[in-house]
Every structure is written in structure tokens, then in C-alpha cells.
């Protein structure tokens, strides 16, 4: 039913007044249907650029991203995206936000109502259906954003540091919710984060990326049963190992910034 995401030789070059910046170089990944993959790395490593390329917001400069035998060139509801800034439409109520994607697809009203009610249930949002986003906490807003994407019933979910702005407890709570939903609905999830712990807690597979140019530094499968215990030895061994990899890149990032500052 669903197809893998094929990322073939993807490059992305940004032209800037200071010269070309190679954001992505030689990225080759195959993401299987139903897989939960985290893109991990320090800021500037191109993980969001790669996600935006898969989303179709910024197509690659070279190489292809192929889903269902089609090369991705523009955004579409088959790849629903959850943003860190929630990006809910503030003039729509919770229920209207969730229904919007379905209205665009010209679904029957009865069907829309049914889906919206199911999603309000699934994400424990029932009591908030007629509220506006301004009246909701960050965690609640992100639940609505997830529901809005789930309403599209797309096989792929893209998440750009979705829990980055939340406090630690809300974050853990939503991570558990996300895992529950993922196990129930079997979506393919591509999840960008800079939190090592978050990636180990969630993912089947962690792709660690290098700082400029963004390449794949490590393609790490996580073979631990869920729910994972962040205090367990196996969890911490992996955390130490990935921490070392990420910090190397973070150091290169910091060095590059220092150099840039020195030139100024």
C-alpha cells in the first residue's frame, strides 16, 4: 500500500552573497514504510533542509527524492508536516483546523465530522473542539497540529522538531502519545531533532548528520523494545556513543562560527 521514501544522491546548495553553501551532499537513504526515522545533528547540519526537501518546500539542487515512483517537487497532503511553531491557523477553531485539509479534498461533511471526532478522541482534545489556538497551551497546540496532519490520512508524517518548544514533561507526554499513534496507525515518520535522548526514545533508526556539508555520519538502528527506559544501560550506552558523534559536529559548527566572527 505505501511505498518507501527513496533519497538518491541528494545535494542542496544555497546561493548566498558570501558564496555557495553546500547544505546537503551525497545523501542516500531508503526509508521503509512504517519506519520511524530520526534525523539527528546540531543546528546547521541540514537536517531540516533534508526534511523540507522531502516535504517539497525546497526541492534538492541535484539528485531525487522518490515516493511511489514519483519525484517530489512540491508539497502535498501525502506528506503531512508538523512544524515546531505549530502553524495552526489562529482564525480557525480546533475542529476547523483539523477539518481544513479534508475540506480542501472536498470530502463529504458527514465524513469530515466523523474523522474530526475520531481525531479529537484520539488526541484527547474533545473538550477543546471549539476553542481557538490562542486559548491552548503549547502541548495542546501541537496535539491539534498532529491531528490536522493525521486527518489527511497520509502514509508519511514529517515532523520538524515538533516538541522543541515544549517543557520536558509535556514533551515526554507527547512523545508517548506519538508512539502510541504510530503503533496504532503504522505511519512512516521522519522526525528532525537535535535531542539525542529524544531520538533514542522514539526511533527505529537514527541518521546522524554532519555539519556543513550535511552528509550522513552514522545510520544507526535502535534495537530496543518499547517503551524504552532512558535510565537503562543499553539506552545510556547508545546515548554516549551518539553524543560523541553529535558533539564532534557541534564542535565543527562552533569552530566555523568563531572563524566567521574572526573574519568580521
Amino acid at each position: 500500500m505505501s511505498s518507501p521514501i527513496l533519497i538518491n544522491n541528494v545535494q542542496k546548495v544555497f546561493k548566498t552573497p558570501g558564496g555557495d553553501v553546500v547544505a546537503l551532499k551525497d545523501i542516500n537513504l531508503t526509508i521503509q514504510p512504517g519506519e520511524f526515522v530520526c534525523l539527528l545533528g546540531p543546528s546547521g547540519c541540514g537536517k531540516s533542509t533534508l526534511l523540507n526537501a522531502v516535504a517539497g518546500f525546497q526541492p534538492p539542487s541535484d539528485g531525487q527524492i522518490i515516493i511511489d515512483q514519483k519525484t517530489i517537487r512540491s508539497p502535498g497532503p501525502d506528506r503531512g508536516m508538523v512544524f515546531q511553531e505549530y502553524a495552526l491557523f489562529p482564525w480557525m477553531t480546533v475542529a476547523q483546523n483539523i477539518a481544513f485539509g479534508l475540506e480542501i479534498q472536498k470530502k463529504e461533511n458527514a465524513e469530515i465530522d466523523l474523522t474530526v471526532n475520531q481525531l479529537l478522541d484520539l488526541l484527547h482534545l474533545k473538550d477543546f473542539r471549539d476553542r481557538y489556538p490562542k486559548d491552548l497551551s503549547g502541548g495542546m497546540r501541537q496535539r491539534v497540529a498532529i491531528a490536522r496532519v493525521l486527518a489527511l490520512d497520509s502514509p508519511i508524517m514529517l515532523m520538524d522538531e515538533p516538541f522543541g518548544a515544549l517543557d520536558a514533561l509535556t514533551r515526554r507526554n507527547l512523545q508517548d502519545e506519538l508512539l502510541r499513534i504510530w503503533e496504532k496507525l503504522g505511519k512512516t515518520i521522519l522526525f528532525v531533532t537535535h535531542s539525542i535522548e529524544e531520538s533514542i526514545y522514539l526511533a527505529d533508526r537514527i541518521v546522524v548528520m554532519t555539519y556543513r556539508p550535511g552528509t550522513v555520519k552514522r545510520d544507526q538502528y535502535v534495537d530496543m523494545p518499547r517503551p524504552r527506559d532512558p535510565a537503562s544501560p543499553a539506552f545510556n550506552d547508545l546515548k554516549r556513543e551518539l553524543g560523541r558523534l553529535v558533539m564532534e559536529e557541534q564542535q565543527r559548527h562552533a569552530d566555523a562560527e568563531m572563524k566567521l566572527a574572526a573574519v568580521d
Binding site: 516535504a55 512540491s74 508539497p75 502535498g76 497532503p77 511553531e85 502553524a87 491557523f89 481544513f100 489527511l152
Partner: protein
Amino acid sequence: MQKLKDFAHGALVPVLVLVLWEACSRAGLFSAVVMPAPSAVAAKWWAYLLPPQEQDASQTYLNWLLSGELLHDAYSSLYRVIAGFVIGAGLALPLGLLMGANTRIYALFNPLVQILRPIPPIAYIPLAILWFGLGNPPSFFLIAIGAFFPVLMNTIAGVRQVDGIYLRAARNLGVGQWTMFTRVILPAATPYILAGVRIGIGTAFIVVIVSEMIAVNDGLGFRILEAREFMWSDKIIAGMITIGLLGLAIDTAVSRLNNHLLRWHRGLEH
């Protein structure tokens, strides 16, 4: 109780001014023709409000009650404000949406807009009379011009400031161009557009008073100018107070409408 206290507090200075004014008038400090006492103004205002003659058999009670000169004038002025505003804003809104959304259209129209915008609507009076003669049409024209630019400028700004994240989210949901415009860009720009509407209505209200002084024979602006011909200063002030009350009523109505339309907006309590 607290409300009563607040009210008393707010009324203190206006009441003092009125008492002082009344006292000065009674003491004969200024001539009643130049500066009538507030009590005389109030009496005149009441007379201006009431029906001019006994109820006629052909009128219903309500018709008779509303047949006073003041209500007729207020209605005429309000009618001109609304008609002129609808014309001006009705032209400004689509043009503003186009100019805000499309940089080429913006580049085409902006120079002309920038040249015309600083011309005060009042400067159009000679042309308005030349083109439209007397009566309501020149009023509508002037008021429309007064309302046009605030609504236009704010609509352009409103469309341009729409946060890119909404556009990205909408494209991700599969929104096409038309839906993007009607269901994302337009609502996202509404706070700016409504701010323009409020300024535009305010300008329209200024312009209506001026326009009534030139080309018509009813309305609040006409009435206070007419009163001057007869040296009825009490009626002039009564008319001015009515203009103030009508302006307040319009602004309150627009503000209520804003609060309703923007009930989703941050920072607004309803």
C-alpha cells in the same frame, strides 16, 4: 458600587467644566450670542430632537416620534457615511488584496497611489462639484476618497505581513491558489484590514461634515452651518454635540464588530 464610583470619577471634570461655563454665562461674562449657556444648549438640543409639530393623523406614533430635525439630519449624515464608505472600501479592498499579493501589480499601481494619497479629500471639493453637481453624489465621492486610502494601505500591509508559516502549512495540506487567498491570506490579514476600516470610517465621518457644508440641504454638517447664518450659537453647539455622539456610536459599533471578527486574535479579550 465600584462602577458607580468609576462613573462619578470620570464625570468629575466634565461636570466641573459645565458648572463653570454655566456660572460664567449667568454672570454675563460672555454674550449669549457668542457663547450660550450649557442649559440653553441642552434646551435647544432637546427641541432639535423632538418632532416639530403635533402628531398628524396620517402618521404612526413611531413615525411622528422620529420626524424631528435632529434625527433626520443624523440619519442623512449616517447614510452618506455608509454609502460613501461602502464605495471607497469596496474599491480599496480588492485592489489592496491584489497589490499585497502580487508584486507586479503592486509595482504598477503603487506610484499612482503614492501621488494621490497625500491629497486631502477636501481638496477634491471643487472637482466633486464640477463632476457631480449638487446633492448626495459629490458627498459620496468625497467620503469614498476619504475611506479609500486607509483601507487600501492597510489591506496591502495586511496581506504582505502574513506569516510564511501559514502559507507553508496550507500548501502542505494541499491548498490551491484560490483557497489560499480566501481561507488563509484574507483571514490572516483581517486584523490589519479592520484597523484600516476603523481609520477609514473615522475619515469618512470627518469628510461627511465638510461635504454637507457645500452641496446639500440636510445633515448635521449642513445644520450647523445653517445655524450660523442665523447666529444660533446654541444650535451650532447642539449640532456639534450630536456629531460627537454619532461619531462615538459609529466607532463603538465598528469596535464591537472588530472584537467579534477578531475573537480568535491574540491579545483581544471578549
